[in-house]
Symmetry: C2
Subunit: 482 residues, 2 copies
């Protein structure tokens, strides 16, 4: 294949080493495993079928959990008038520098210019103020699968730093403060379970510091994970908005005694950055490694045609049928003109959890040879035992989580002093006691590059702030972040 045209690294494997040049490795995996490609506008990417299918798997897992909780999906347009976006001042100022503005339609100038949705609080809550009138209308729980647009000036990084990204944003309104606070925690719990159970990535739950919280929120809770390069990635956020938005947007309800109150609100979201995390945590020097639950293809059957081609083809197709019958997302690679070795590399690069090889000897002995992507282990299985593959996939899912937990453990540290914190910053997550003061937080950030990623629940157990030595109120996780 030619490599002279743009996109011509297609067909090539990953050449960068994960431990050598993590950043180059990541980009190669994304583009060469054909998850995504760069769009012709700086900051924008395109998802290819495997990339989108993984997003659909994440969406399906979240949708099922949302529905159980009574959250229903809706649609909001991408255009938000500036006057509306500006209604909650702090929120607006937070997003303003990165907003794309529509100023013309056809040849006409637009009066109140239109923002491309950086997030939909302003628009959703304008609607909620119409829809909510009495206690009977509460709680209102809606979710929106759409994209958000925020102009990124730094270098594009597929799934991690793009000017448009796929996400979901949930918006709820409640009659009581407690119910809204419980909602914030419940949604973060859902995020944690999806990331852990579907993407096989361990997470840490907690709150953001004042400095790092969502603009307009009373507080922001978040889940964070550590990536193999030691940097932390925010995996999902759930915000308690209090009445900060229901006030300016006029979301009021009358209770059973006909008294009027402001509604209590939450918003919460995860984005395709979860896919970025999955790539970083599980991938290896051969490319992508997909957790079976979200893998578009869970098993690929590769017939190895030598000698009795008809027998091999027959056995391979029977294996495919058996796999599909067992509910496995399986394909067969019968392409002519490609060697078995080429095909092995092709599907390894794409992260398919299981390869089922059927050669002449396998066919003759009524068996198949199985190769696991995540640890490259091999075993044999009787052709009649393919019903065990779903169980094997679940085992792999569990083993990938266990391996990721071990890796995260090696990248998680505790610092008893400022010196230790400074030394460990950049080498993973660092727990260190903190007085809660913004000045100490700032100093750590300025001097070490590490910021408070999340403050897990629980106090500091009498410890002293590693920065100022005053009594600590919590033991946050410090890390350099994405």
């Amino acid at each position: 294949m030619t490599t002279s045209r743009p996109g011509g690294d297609r067909g090539a494997g990953v050449t960068a080493a994960k431990e050598g040049d993590f950043s180059a490795w990541y980009t190669q995996v994304v583009t060469r495993a054909e998850l995504a490609d760069y769009a012709p506008v700086k900051g924008l990417i395109v998802l290819r079928p495997d990339g989108y299918a993984i997003w659909e798997a994440v969406r399906g897992a979240l949708d099922a959990r949302f529905a159980e909780r009574g959250v229903r999906n809706g649609f909001l347009p991408v255009l938000i008038p500036e006057s509306l976006l500006g209604r909650e001042k702090e929120h607006f100022e937070g997003f303003n520098p990165e907003v794309f503005w529509v100023t013309r339609s056809g040849n006409d100038e637009i009066g109140d210019r239109l923002a491309l949705r950086p997030t939909s609080e302003a628009l959703a809550y304008t609607m909620y103020s119409k829809w909510i009138q009495s206690w009977r209308d509460l709680p209102l729980r809606m979710n929106f699968w759409n994209t958000a647009l925020r102009a990124e000036i730094k270098g594009t990084k597929p799934f991690l730093r793009t000017s448009e990204f796929l996400w979901q944003e949930g918006h709820t309104a409640h009659a009581t403060e407690q119910e809204a606070r419980d909602e914030v925690a419940a949604m973060l719990g859902i995020y944690g379970s999806v990331v852990r159970d579907e993407l096989a990535i361990p997470v840490i739950h907690g709150d953001k510091s004042e400095r790092e919280k969502f603009v307009g929120a009373v507080y922001t809770s978040a889940i964070e994970s550590v990536m193999p390069d030691g940097r932390a990635l925010q995996m999902g956020t759930s915000h308690f908005l209090g009445t900060n938005f229901s006030g300016p947007f006029g979301i009021r309800y009358s209770d059973r005694e006909n008294r009027e109150h402001l509604a209590w609100q939450t918003s919460w979201g995860v984005s395709w950055r979860l896919i970025g995390a999955m790539i970083m945590v599980h991938g290896d020097d051969n490319g992508l490694v997909l957790p079976p639950r979200v893998a578009p293809v869970q098993a690929v059957v590769v017939p190895i045609v030598r000698g009795d081609a008809a027998a091999v083809a027959g056995a391979a197709r029977a294996a495919l049928a058996a796999l599909r019958g067992a509910g496995v997302r399986a394909v067969i690679d019968e392409r002519e003109g490609f060697s078995p070795g080429y095909k092995f590399n092709y599907w390894e690069l794409r992260g398919v959890p299981l390869r089922i090889e059927v050669g002449p000897r396998d066919a003759a002995a009524s068996k198949v040879t199985i190769s696991r992507r995540y640890d490259r282990s091999r075993s044999e299985l009787g052709a009649g035992e393919l019903g065990r593959i779903p169980g094997m996939l679940e085992e792999i899912q569990r083993a990938m989580l266990a391996r990721a937990e071990e890796a995260a453990g090696r990248l998680t540290h505790r610092a008893g002093s400022y010196g230790e914190l400074a030394e460990l910053a950049g080498r993973g997550l660092v727990y260190a006691a903190w007085c809660g003061g913004g000045k100490c937080e700032e100093r750590v950030k300025e001097e070490t590059g590490a910021e408070i990623r999340v403050v897990p629940p629980g106090g500091a157990d009498g410890a002293a702030c590693v920065v100022c030595g005053a009594g600590a109120s919590s033991v946050p996780v410090f890390a350099r972040g994405y």
Copy 2:
């Protein structure tokens, strides 16, 4: 409930008559059945949970058929540089007047201004030119679930005329012209089957005239349906692009002998306007009437609490469990403080296909009373026979299609002369022989308001053009359209 605030018609039923003021009736059904609401920007709407759930049902039906054909989903960003959009001149000029332009990001002016996607040919094919190099890369079949943005200057009409709309756009590339032509037909066939089988709406298949085809296409095929007011609605289009785009965008492949060729292409799409058609075709003066296959709720259990409340509640909940066990999307309305009559109206307005009433006498006799939304017929069923409900829903689905076919038949005419055509225009679809000339087409449009909606396959069987009297080449469907 108060009606003084915006959105305050909530809780009210439909007051406009479908046959009296069709347009007002339509808007009332959309907003009062809570499918959609107007966003704060002219031309834009918001989907509420039931509206979005219907779209999800349509999406699911299409996705299943796309997957069978080897079409896979992807993601494209909403921003397209002007320089790219302008690469296929005719295409660009067609869309230019209705394009929203992003000219600023944050406080910075953007050099090459960015269009909000009016359709994605330009962007998709820029990517395809990278991805397609050899015959091995063909056919390439991708679909994108996103929104399109086209500034609408005429009055907003939810689902029918909005400046942003949910749709899917499929884009394929093929090695041969014949394969691409077959693809165009196959995709139109999928659209026809989904509209007919899921939405219970009959359609007419055919080609658009030169005047009405997609800008940039060699030809456009389409499905059209007639609405109860006699106007035609374009339900879906499938375009044969030939090499009109692969030329300017450089989509070339080398064949097995290493000779280079331009790829042959298609694009095709349906939008949420299908929901608009469903509302118009099936709705009645009590509101929405949903075909069971796309209904978010297929059956609502309404306990009628008089006398032995515990017995009724128990029987109603048992009925709910039985329905869900049978795979029916069922809910129960146990809200306190609302009369049975209020609840009946509430669920009728929302178009739920079946209401299952459980009163004291029903509970005592171990039976339920069933009311069908589409024809308001009532019957009784033993509490142990609720497993028959799925079959009943399928019967309703078929009966709704049959009824819609009859109604469409009454609105379909044949004109043997220009006078007849002029008289029938505005009263439905009119088949009339045509010479194929643009002047005759123009004259009909100017004098009667009817345009050629679709040219079904087959010739004119020796008939003369109803306009000029010359030999006719086809018998198109003329109608005033949406």
